[in-house]
Every structure is written in structure tokens, then in C-alpha cells.
Amino acid sequence: MYSQSPSSNGSFMQEQDLLKSILADLRRTSREYTTATTEASCPMTRRMFTDLTNDTLRLQGELFNLMQQNNMYSVSSKALRQDVDKQIQSAQQAQQKCQQFIQEKNTQNSSYSQAPNVPHHQPNYGNPYYM
């Protein structure tokens, strides 16, 4: 971008480019915090990374909205109706297949175990008074 408006003369980068760069870094940082959360073994560290993930996502969303309000972020084109319809169709098929699969596994499971002829035993470790 060499043909900038005169107002950008003398500045290192245009404001809009700097804001886009910050937005991109917030996106990358929130991704890295998410990865760090899933790989943390110390509960305290996991808690910290979870909080940092949430806070960074919030800041990223705020900046995105602010840039959109100031016409600094062009909204990308819209997905076509026919493409959305196609995805809905295949998603519904996937849902059906999942339900079939679960049913198959449940029937297989119950064919190995007989129905109990005694009432279900309540485990005493699950006593709510001790939880």
C-alpha cells in the first residue's frame, strides 16, 4: 500500500493496519491459551489459562465490534442458500447415522447382559450426605 492518503504521511503504519495486526494477535493468543489450557496438568495453571482464554476472547470480540462499527473491517461475502441447504441435508444424514450407531451399540450391549431380577443396588459411596 504505497498510495496512501496524505494524512498517513510520516506515520509508521496506518491506524487501520495496526488495529488489524492487534486483532490478528488476539486471535492467535486466544488460540495459544486454549492449547495451553488443554495441556496444563497443574489445576491452578489450568484455571489460569482458562481465565486468560476467556478474557482474550472477550477482548478480541470487543475489538472486532469496534472496528466493524468504524467501518474498518469489511464483512466477508455471504454463503449461498444452495450451499447452506446442501450442508443441512448432509448434517441431518449424519445425525441419523449417529442415532443408528448408538442404537446398534446399545442393543449389542444389552444382548450380553441379562435383565436384573433384583432391584438396582444403590452404591453407598454416592451418598449425597457425604458429597
Binding site: L18, C42, L59, L66
Partner: protein, 78 residues
């Protein structure tokens, strides 16, 4: 383990904290630099708020390192 919520850091966790400190430092500098050149008061206010938020993140990360300092072993153990 006496304290159930705090364990010694793994090398991976240490690296993630170090990388995060670099990220936060970069974000603080970018937000402060952009706030200094903008003529839009709304954006300037938001950026100054982001500087403070990222400073808080940086503090949190440095505190986490300090809190785990005494739990770190001096030698590699199995």
C-alpha cells in the same frame, strides 16, 4: 502432594507461560503505540483499556511463575 491445587510446573507448562508473556508484551506495545497515533477518541479509550487488561494478564503470568518457583526441583528426578 500437600497442596492439591498447586503442583510443580511441567517443562511444557513453563514454555506456554513464557510464550504467553511474549504475546502479552507484544500486545501491550502494539495497543500503546496505536493509542498514541489515533485521532478517534472511542478507539483511543478502548486501546488504553486493552493496555491495562494485557498488563493484568502479564502480572498473572509472572505471579504464576513466582508461585511455582519453590516447587521446582533443583535436579531432574524420575
Amino acid at each position: 502432594m500437600q497442596n492439591h491445587t498447586m503442583q510443580a510446573l511441567s517443562p511444557k507448562e513453563l514454555n506456554y507461560i513464557a510464550d504467553s508473556i511474549t504475546n502479552e508484551e507484544l500486545l501491550i506495545k502494539q495497543c500503546a503505540a496505536t493509542a498514541s497515533i489515533t485521532h478517534n477518541p472511542q478507539i483511543q479509550q478502548a486501546l488504553n483499556h486493552y493496555v491495562r487488561s494485557h498488563e493484568q494478564h502479564l502480572n498473572t503470568l509472572v505471579n504464576a511463575l513466582q508461585q511455582h518457583q519453590s516447587l521446582a526441583p533443583a535436579q531432574v528426578s524420575n
